[in-house]
Symmetry: D2
Subunit: 339 residues, 4 copies
């Protein structure tokens, strides 16, 4: 961190800054320009709040952070790609992984049928919600543990590992008993107890970006999980909220490419939630893979117009099969294979 003093800052002002730094075990390194003094902050651990504190000091013009506030998630400190292993499947290891299935688990027949369909089309993981966050209290919220059991049954039959959302810290143990990968939803990206509980679960965690979370906040939330000793974090870009209402959200493909540069964690795209329209799912899935994503999570429903949630963004089995072959072609064009 660098503290830029105002032109008219007094010695007293400077001393106050130096003294506060010392309280945190930090050293202030003075450097006098022609116009003003700049204080370089030296020391092991700069508290994230320090910037806000110093901005408030008399005589301080600006405190400027130099390094990124996340470390464990940063490529700077961990240059090689993290590969998350789920059984024999590798996420982040060079191949593109496709996770597919219905938005919500609705019935045995629905989930078993869908599991067979997506496996046949080439998906390597099964998705499906047993606990559903819904903005209205008057909406279907999932089958709960019964849904988890049906997912496990589908795994037993198809061999596909399963990923499903966990919404509250006290459910982590339950969901982790059934799921291969825990999903943290966008609304919970800053539910810190949940992040920490997931970090202690022993399961890989897929962390969806919050609707209005900055890139940096997203990485800081990953940091919460990794800091519990769980390095197996998968990022998932699922669209951000902007002024545009022609699509449900705005997929931030910039963030996918930036993530591959700034972090070592695998990145998955979710064009179903990112667009909200089934006919935009294929082009955006292809776009994400072309931009470097390590895979995609796609909603597929055997009968989308009867889906209990998000039917309008689900692909039919036929459309999903077409998409899988297009994904293979685009992956190959950027030098990769679909897992």
């Amino acid at each position: 961190m660098i503290v830029v003093m105002r032109k008219n800052a007094t010695e007293e002002n400077i001393d106050a800054v130096i003294k506060r730094l010392a309280e945190y075990g930090l050293k202030g390194h003075l450097s006098a320009g022609e116009e003003r003094i700049i204080i370089g902050v030296v020391g092991a651990a700069i508290p994230p709040t320090l910037r806000g504190e110093l901005d408030y000091f008399e005589g301080v013009q600006q405190a400027v952070p130099i390094s990124r506030p996340y470390k464990l998630a940063s490529r700077e400190f961990h240059p090689y790609d993290t590969v998350v292993k789920v059984g024999e499947l590798e996420i982040g290891g060079g191949r593109c992984v496709v996770m597919a299935g219905p938005c919500a688990v609705e019935s045995e027949e629905q989930i078993m049928t869908t599991a067979r369909i997506v496996r046949e089309a080439g998906a390597s993981m099964l998705r499906g919600g047993a606990f559903k966050p819904r903005s209205s209290p008057y909406t279907f919220r999932g089958l709960g543990e019964q849904g988890l059991k049906l997912l496990a049954q589908a795994r037993d039959e198809t061999g596909l590992p399963i990923i499903t959302e966990v919404m509250t810290p006290t459910d982590v143990e339950l969901v982790a008993r059934y799921a291969d990968v825990l999903q943290i939803g966008a609304r919970n990206m800053q539910n810190y107890q949940l992040l920490e509980e997931a970090g202690r679960s022993g399961r890989p965690v897929m962390l969806k970006r919050g609707l209005s979370a900055t890139f940096e906040e997203w990485l800081l939330s990953a940091e919460y999980i990794i800091a519990q000793g769980n390095p197996d974090v998968i990022l998932c870009e699922r669209g951000i909220r902007t002024f545009e209402t022609a699509t449900r959200n705005t997929m931030d493909i910039n963030a996918v490419a930036l993530a591959k540069r700034r972090t070592h964690l695998p990145v998955i795209i979710d064009p179903s939630h990112g667009t909200g329209k089934w006919y935009l799912v294929p082009p955006l899935a292809l776009a994400g893979i072309a931009a470097g994503a390590d895979g995609a999570i796609i909603e597929v429903h055997p009968d989308p117009d009867r889906a209990k949630s998000d039917g309008s963004q689900s692909l039919t089995p036929e459309n999903f099969a077409v998409l899988m072959s297009q994904l293979a072609a685009v992956a190959q064009a950027v030098g990769r294979l679909v897992a």
Copy 2:
């Protein structure tokens, strides 16, 4: 809801819509214009997902909701202002309520001093965080139960009721034991288990608007709480996230005025978080009251530049006292009194 069919919709398309409506116990009322058919949906309970479902049907151009998706929070169904009683204090009852105190409870001395200062200046409730949500895992996260005890001690001495944040469902019982009003923070506005637990706590709940929550989503989250049988919900506008970075957030004063029209719930403004700069807190507090807010929540710290969090947005005791007298003048100008 109204379902507008495409010009070229077939009888089969129309029948499919009617049939689906029937499955939900709803009736479709056909009306043939010169160019197209419109189906009015009649029935008691239209599921919130229906719109998405129907948009997906062949031959459907658009499904248009007519009424608002929240009911319990809506002024349409409940025309008179809700007055939330906290001991003898009334929130929403015509007087402007000022809640004040530090961002976080840091020590006995700090909270006791601040409590005395804010009471003397005319505040009618004491705020202070015992559990703090922080975007980075490396930051001070509050004193926990010890903080709650200190708040209770401050209440005992000053008589001020206390409001403090609860972050996770399993903490609701604990926090409700000490606090007079539970606060749900912006990051948790869509933490539905927490909303429901708070709804069952028997305590009034102040619900902060999420950083990127629409007005409608905010009201739907209030609906979650009220639906548990707890009518004592206070809305709190604390700034939204926009492209503007010159201030920490953008206070949405439009939403304050709109809330007074669309709902019967009291609305409090939080200019400390809404601006992120202490020198913008007074003008925005005055603006909110002028626009019709039922009160304000203000961060005050006896020594802002030593605050463990958010010091740069805290007022000094002197500035707070000045603000209180300005608030009284503006409240009077719009025909109200400060409680």
Copy 3:
């Protein structure tokens, strides 16, 4: 500006930066911390593009601007409030100025009637569009010069000075012949030829903030006008575009308060466009004045439901008269008078 070098920057990297600075007549002042080198940039005129250039240099971690990029509009360089004189009327001189009138000039009867009504209610300037920017090519675009003549006629009768929009550089001379104050609309905030032409017109200019313009860009656009030798610039906050759709725009009252601190220019609020709903105009007008605005511009129409544009945000004469008395009360509460 400060250039922060990477930890592993070479001497060669540093020399390259110093050399580039020299090409611009700037000096680089080195300062070695324990971990990295920081280069302070010293010199009279740092080109605004320099930051982008240096960010691209090898070995550079970050180039950090220290002072604000606008000077003429900055309070730092011009501490006293600018007072814009329009005849005997002063804008920014301590009194709150109310500009009122229809969105568009529609007919002689309409503009004359409205002018009389708003003068009687206490407005001190007449607004009305003769040239209207419209997002669709199929919409009423104003009466053009005929509209300007009607405005001038209304001024002759009522004595109210007039403000009206100019949309294209070649119209500046024409509009300046009739208008007392030129208005630059939100869509044209970065139409630089128009800004410069207006800067040379000899008329005061009211500059509306662009829908997605940052605070800094707004001030830079003011700088364009002032740089032509025209110090009489009035800022106008009229709402920004955010994710929220419950209101037409989001009034950024934070920006009003910030403008009073960072610049010396007067600031006017436009709650008619800022909210898009007539019933939100009064609370937001009051909010803006409470936050420190130097006045408000309000749409008033003798028969809003027959207005050719923006009727739904226009006040009736009765509602406008009520608002004027509320404005007087709130202005007084913050120590000011309505002009």
Copy 4:
């Protein structure tokens, strides 16, 4: 359009709506549901302002537009893809077109060198700014007509057609004399006089999306140009402004895919401005092509760190050559060829 009346609307209210419709030559078709009356609006030309007007009527709950407000740009009225011909080059005709060159024309040597480089790498059009819009008045604004002459000279030598920006209506004739395609920049997307002048120029026009323009507003601006009798409009997505600051803008790839569905106009992506970072240009260019774009416009500079503007987002000749071969591979994967 459909007008939904409130439950308690009176006959008088309904009559008022019908009467107003009649004034516009429209017919209101009543349809009584069980709960409320709905009025279908029938007639040739519904004025775009009608919705706002009716929303304001007593007894009206909501006026709902049914068709999109743009017609000439809509695929509904013009199902086949528009192919814009520039000499022998076709844009929108199935091949992906790459336009490349420096942000600004700086000198004869710079533009001639760049033109040769990009032609050799496979680009089919040369870009370069002669008139540059800059947010600060203190920045390089281009060489003006001298820049146009240099572009023409580069075309003479390389055979590449040229595209360059025009910023003000009075410059259209001048720029059209030199350029093969006129570019309207993002800041001018709603500069209506400029749109109309460009529509009358006889040249194809590439219309960049405004920073905060909705998809619909973008199409309405295209409508302005087409309405002047010029069908040769090319859309260009160049990033929108969101809360995210980690990249300069947020590329809206959703909008690219949506444009291919809703309009018949070709769509070009501009990843240089859309990301603001040279290392994000290749992944986003690939993403856009994978999502269905008809081409890309890319900044290339022989010496990016000496570029007079936007150097940090320009590719070196080497990086551009690599990108061209990747583009060819991805285009082929989605069944297309690079022109």
